[in-house]
């Protein structure tokens, strides 16, 4: 029973297309995140979202938008895909005020834009 699951695991698409990546967590956490791991292997926060606020990393283009239908889901929509968007995208969740600061990660979605 996967704690944080994201689909699809692999996504190959053409430049200019619009795509979505879905994420669900069954941990009852109140905060969800999207991270991007680029070709240099850096893992960087893109968004964090709980029922009170959306925090956006200022470096993220506005072609990227998170959508949260409920507390357990945070989907990532990407418009007008570009070659530079190719990366691995990780969804994560955590509980605010937790003792360890720990976040749980999904398995990742490898996006390839051709």
């Amino acid at each position: 029973d996967t704690a944080v699951s994201q689909t699809p695991k692999y996504l190959v698409t053409q430049m200019g297309n619009d795509k979505s990546i879905k994420c669900e967590q069954n941990l009852g956490h109140d905060t969800m995140y999207w991270y991007k791991q680029d070709s240099k292997k850096f893992l960087k926060i893109m968004f964090s979202y709980n029922n009170k606020e959306l925090i956006i990393n200022e470096t993220v283009p506005n072609r990227f938008s998170p959508k949260s239908p409920d507390k357990a889901h945070l989907n990532l929509h990407i418009n007008s895909l570009e070659l530079g968007d190719s990366a691995v995208y990780f969804c994560a969740s955590s509980q605010m005020g937790g003792r360890t600061g720990e976040a749980f990660f999904g398995q990742g979605t490898r996006l390839t834009v051709v």
């Binding site: 944080v4 905060t31 995140y33 991270y35 240099k40 292997k41 850096f42 893992l43 960087k44 926060i45 964090s48 709980n50 606020e53 925090i55 990780f90 994560a92 955590s94 605010m96 005020g97 937790g98 360890t100 600061g101 720990e102 976040a103 749980f104 990660f105 999904g106 398995q107 990742g108």
Partner: protein, 113 residues
Amino acid sequence: DQQVKQNSPSLSVQEGRISILNCDYTNSMFDYFLWYKKYPAEGPTFLISISSIKDKNEDGRFTVFLNKSAKHLSLHIVPSQPGDSAVYFCAASGRRGADGLTFGKGTHLIIQP
């Protein structure tokens, strides 16, 4: 501007010996420091963390040490086992957890039989 740095891209250790992974940070406002382990094609898995008010935390074979004055932390794995071969990421979080984790670039640990 990297706030969390792991200066060793890779580390090779013999099975049974101690593995020491190092991490430096620049932001004094970090509240928690964490270590994650990552296998290829999988997401990072939480290993161990330490609060900024402590200097040591131990969990089985894993111990994390924090030196706040030097802005340095290290992960000790003893004894090292073949299954420990993976990429290890150092991460830090601020008091406002909603800001997420700031990661280092990772160290690829290879355990030699």
